[in-house]
Symmetry: C2
Subunit: 414 residues, 2 copies
Amino acid sequence: MIKFDLIYDADFLDQSYKQASKDILQQIKQEISDGASGYYNLPYESQDLIDKVQAYGNAFKHINTIAVIGIGGSSLGTKAIYEFLRHKTKNTKKIIFFENPDPIDITEKFMAIDKNSTQFLLISKSGSTVEPMSIFKAIIYNFNLKIDNNENIIAITDHDSALYKFADKHNIKTFTLKDNVGGRFSVLSSVGIVPLTLAGFDTKKILDGAVETLESFLNGDTKHIFDKAINLAQNKDKHPINVIFSYSNTLKEFTQWYVQLWAESLGKIDKDSKRTGLTPVGHIGAVDQHSFLQLIIEGPRDKTVTFIKIDDFENSLHVPKYTLDYIQKSDYINGHTFNELINAECDATMQSVHEQGVNVDIITLDKINEENIGELIMYYELLTSAVGIMLNINTYNQEGVELGKRILVKKFQN
Amino acid sequence: MIKFDLIYDADFLDQSYKQASKDILQQIKQEISDGASGYYNLPYESQDLIDKVQAYGNAFKHINTIAVIGIGGSSLGTKAIYEFLRHKTKNTKKIIFFENPDPIDITEKFMAIDKNSTQFLLISKSGSTVEPMSIFKAIIYNFNLKIDNNENIIAITDHDSALYKFADKHNIKTFTLKDNVGGRFSVLSSVGIVPLTLAGFDTKKILDGAVETLESFLNGDTKHIFDKAINLAQNKDKHPINVIFSYSNTLKEFTQWYVQLWAESLGKIDKDSKRTGLTPVGHIGAVDQHSFLQLIIEGPRDKTVTFIKIDDFENSLHVPKYTLDYIQKSDYINGHTFNELINAECDATMQSVHEQGVNVDIITLDKINEENIGELIMYYELLTSAVGIMLNINTYNQEGVELGKRILVKKFQN
């Protein structure tokens, strides 16, 4: 269960909000029916996928490690869920992510892998992304993997992509995703559901959480999403930067997933050929109170801040009632749990930021569980789509990154 | 050795740049002589510290883990150096960082620690920071540590702070730092040098690198620092966001250190009572080309971008010359090293960003070594001081975070 509170300096009952909300809802229903993006269907479509992966169960009994070879949308969402749930789910397999073509990072990960107990998942929508393809080749060489009929390799890719054809030819197990599901919206497709199910997470509950958010949104019951999206888009020039402060280390990778979703979806040339967008920044509380907070408080008032907190960490670790000579100043926390401390820090920081006239909102998860991460993911995807509609852009493409790719190829052709 | 290249749309030979450079240099010399900040002296003063720690050598022979208990400036710099050098320095001890009062994170780290082979370093300038003090108490309780004469505990704190008095009373080893060295400028003081020397890193070379940068700066030989600082400050309204794209996972923690240094130093009410500052954003290439790059290319032109790359990773991992059926599109990289690939991605991205009219600069480290991280740290500290002078602010305080701290205390008193 998640609670959403907006503490905005705005009149959300204003007629213009009502009209814009209606427009957003209508356009999203249009996107669903014309297939502009396929992510809306994933919480339903991916249910079958779970059964399929679980049916392979016996073939994977000897596996204790999943190596995900993918970058950007092919890894960030899986990482977000894995890091959020890892500590509380017993008997799950380890997931290692091969993302960056950094030789030191790859070499270190090679040393951590035993090929006989590892399932390699090569994930690329197109099958032509240079980083995972290069790393995949290095993995084949390093571990002397055979390709034909290798049960330890799985490919996840668009139907009929180059990678699909490769896998088909060599009889490698393949899961597909649809053309109209972009990488950054793909975590609830085979891209995230296959590795997480294989690793032993209860992905069914993740999808259930996503369904819940999606259905209340489509029923018009999530006023806070409309209000926030409209306000962010209307004030994009005044508040061009959106900061997330997540008060739990388990949400570190989630904030990275948000940064990609937001930056790549909303940083666009709009339909009037104007540059637009909102800059996402991800931080972790209470740590980054000792880093970024000063800038929010005294710096330019160009930011909005979203606080994400977890009501109940289900952990009773507490600060012992010790009074140490001379260092009694922090004794006020004695006897309290760390759960209480980190959340009180969140509340105090939120209050101090709000007192500066900054628009803040608070997302409160009751617990760390599968349904909540599913809800949170769908919430951010819907929020992104809603802001995209308000900004009058194509939320689902990413033309801007193509130039660099072309320059890269030329560098090696000369 | 580090190379600095500015590709800015600016006339750095302009008379105003010359004058401002002179002013900055003069004011920094003034800060050194009047002690406005003590970080300038650290590369010299900390030499003694290394000898002192090494003299304790035998007492630490049984230690294989250093537990740093500190937050913000008390951990970020040490983490940056540790993560940068860790893979290439043989026989170093493991450093575990207790930073966030997150109960799950603390519980996991407790399980990774054997108290008999761990040296606990409690780091707090004031000795009253609530997070490390609370975690320290939980550590005492969890590991049943004695306090009096415990050789496994070291305190690092300001001379005469509450923590200093506590340590003195209980005969706990203490290293001090000076009042006028703020947390975010303290990595080359006892705060960073003690844990890193204990862990077995060649901290002498780190200080040598810092001396080199500092002395060429004071000799007026680092025109690129003045030019960059002046340009960033003059264009703070046009380009309020500074992005670092570091092309190596080893620089991940360094970019976090930079974010703190920049945000907490430059986000200020200026001497005319106006809010000012520049927003730092840290990213890792090539990974975040698949995340944040789209926003830089097509979004608002409100950013400058600094690329940091490593010329020679001293790692020969290469992409094997395999041609796989159907997926030949990335074969152009076959036979090349990952070192070449990641750097070509950096160059291609830099070029594609520059073609959009974005001011970019490139910092090229010849290798991953101690001198270079020392140089890089001093470079960023000097750059920050220079920008602070141009913004007409107090770079070294952080008044903005005090309000939240007061609210926090009240929450527990009610």
